[in-house]
């Protein structure tokens, strides 16, 4: 399988803090599911934000052989879908349907076509009956699924999920894991939930102080760092 994401010596520091990423090397193959584990502030989210160009640090980031630069952002963002930790930040349009259509319309898909694709995606995620509802009036699990629908509808090759189990109850977490396992694309899941990581990924990278300390099968990494 080809390398879908290739990162070499990635370094980044925020203006008001010390270095957050200290030379990250990372590869993700097509169809592979990887968990990013590590304590708060270890650089997981900062790293992931580089993969679709929201942040741009020093070093090389390539997505499907395209180097992430300001000039390639549009192309890169078609390939990398990002589901943020706070669904309320992601769902900002007045109805669920409009929100799911947002990414497609940005890609220049005509409104009618965007609407039918968005409805299809909502049906797939059992959200069709919420299409005309205000996203803020949904439950946490429904909001999460709506946010994922808004990204999946863009048919990304890589799906990044930042703390997807936040605010979800156990049945909601199981439902989300089952849904993710049915998706064929490569997935990068940032999580503190080791059970969820085991259920949804085969590989894990452990972050500490802006470095990847270890990389390997999810279960092994969790045991090695006592991350239960």
């Amino acid at each position: 399988m080809g390398c879908l994401i290739r990162v070499r010596d990635l370094r980044y520091r925020y203006a008001d803090s010390g270095p957050v990423l200290n030379g990250i090397d990372f590869d993700l193959k097509a169809g592979e599911s990887t968990a990013l584990l590590g304590s708060n502030g270890s650089g997981k989210t900062t790293f992931a934000l580089h993969l679709n160009g929201i942040l741009q640090g020093e070093g090389e980031v390539e997505v499907a052989t395209i180097r992430v630069t300001t000039a390639t952002l549009e192309e890169v963002r078609r390939k990398v879908g990002f589901v943020f930790q706070s669904s309320e930040n992601q769902l900002f349009l007045p109805t669920v349907l409009e929100d799911v259509m947002f990414g497609l319309l940005n890609q220049g898909v005509p409104a009618e076509q965007a609407r039918s694709r968005a409805m299809e995606m909502l049906e797939r995620l059992h959200l069709a009956s919420y299409a005309n509802r205000n996203p803020f009036h949904l439950s946490a699990g429904e909001k999460r699924r709506a946010a994922i629908a808004g990204v999946l509808v863009m048919s990304p090759e890589v799906l990044i999920l930042d703390e997807p189990t936040t605010f979800l109850d156990p049945p909601g977490i199981r439902e989300l894991a089952a849904m993710l396992n049915q998706l064929p694309m490569a997935k990068l899941i940032i999580t503190h939930d080791s059970r969820f990581a085991i259920d949804t990924t085969t590989r894990a990278s452990f972050f500490d102080k802006g470095r990847i300390l270890a990389d390997g099968p999810t279960r092994d990494i969790i045991q090695r760092f006592d991350w239960f």
Binding site: L49, I54, E74, R77, F92, F102, N106, Q107, A111
Partner: protein, 215 residues
Amino acid sequence: MKLDPRCALLLLLSYLIALASIQPGANRLLLTLCALPVVLLFLSPVPRAELLAQAAYVLPFSFAIAAVALLRGNTAQAVFFLLRSYISILAVLITTKLATTLELLRAMERLGAPRFLIVVCEFVIRYIEVLRKEADSMRLAALCRGAAQSKLIAASSLGMLFVRSLERSTGIHNAMLARGFNGSLPRAYPMQWRLADTVALAIGIAGIATLRWAA
């Protein structure tokens, strides 16, 4: 059949212009024009008592103008000012109940209002509830730690609320960028102006003009 919100806005604008152009003292004309929103109020599926009460919120403001007339001993003119402002607000409130706020904002945009302003209004409407919840949770947290209800707490919470608003707006912007946002919000539902809207607008403006200038 529901009118295009642009048609509703244009009819409202015509009505307000007609109302504003009445000279003080033309009481019969004012009463004639007042009849329009009152009739609409009773024909439309809107909460009548609520709208009649809400329209009264304008009275303290218009009373400042009416007070000048009262000081000059012109009670009729004071009543004229109060009634005109009350009816104007009632007409606006009825319009806001016949279409959603977002529909009206988009209609304003299509009629030439600056897009930036409209987008800011849309965001404020969507996130005001989220910010209110955050403010409530901060207030509760302060109370749970033994804080008394005080202006100091409210002031410091307000500062923190600004910080949280900034964080949230950064998060929203990042999420928008991740889905290909390039600076302009695409519209999912293009508005459709139909023949019925043209007819309704023509009849409405003609009716208002007739009542105002031919009566």
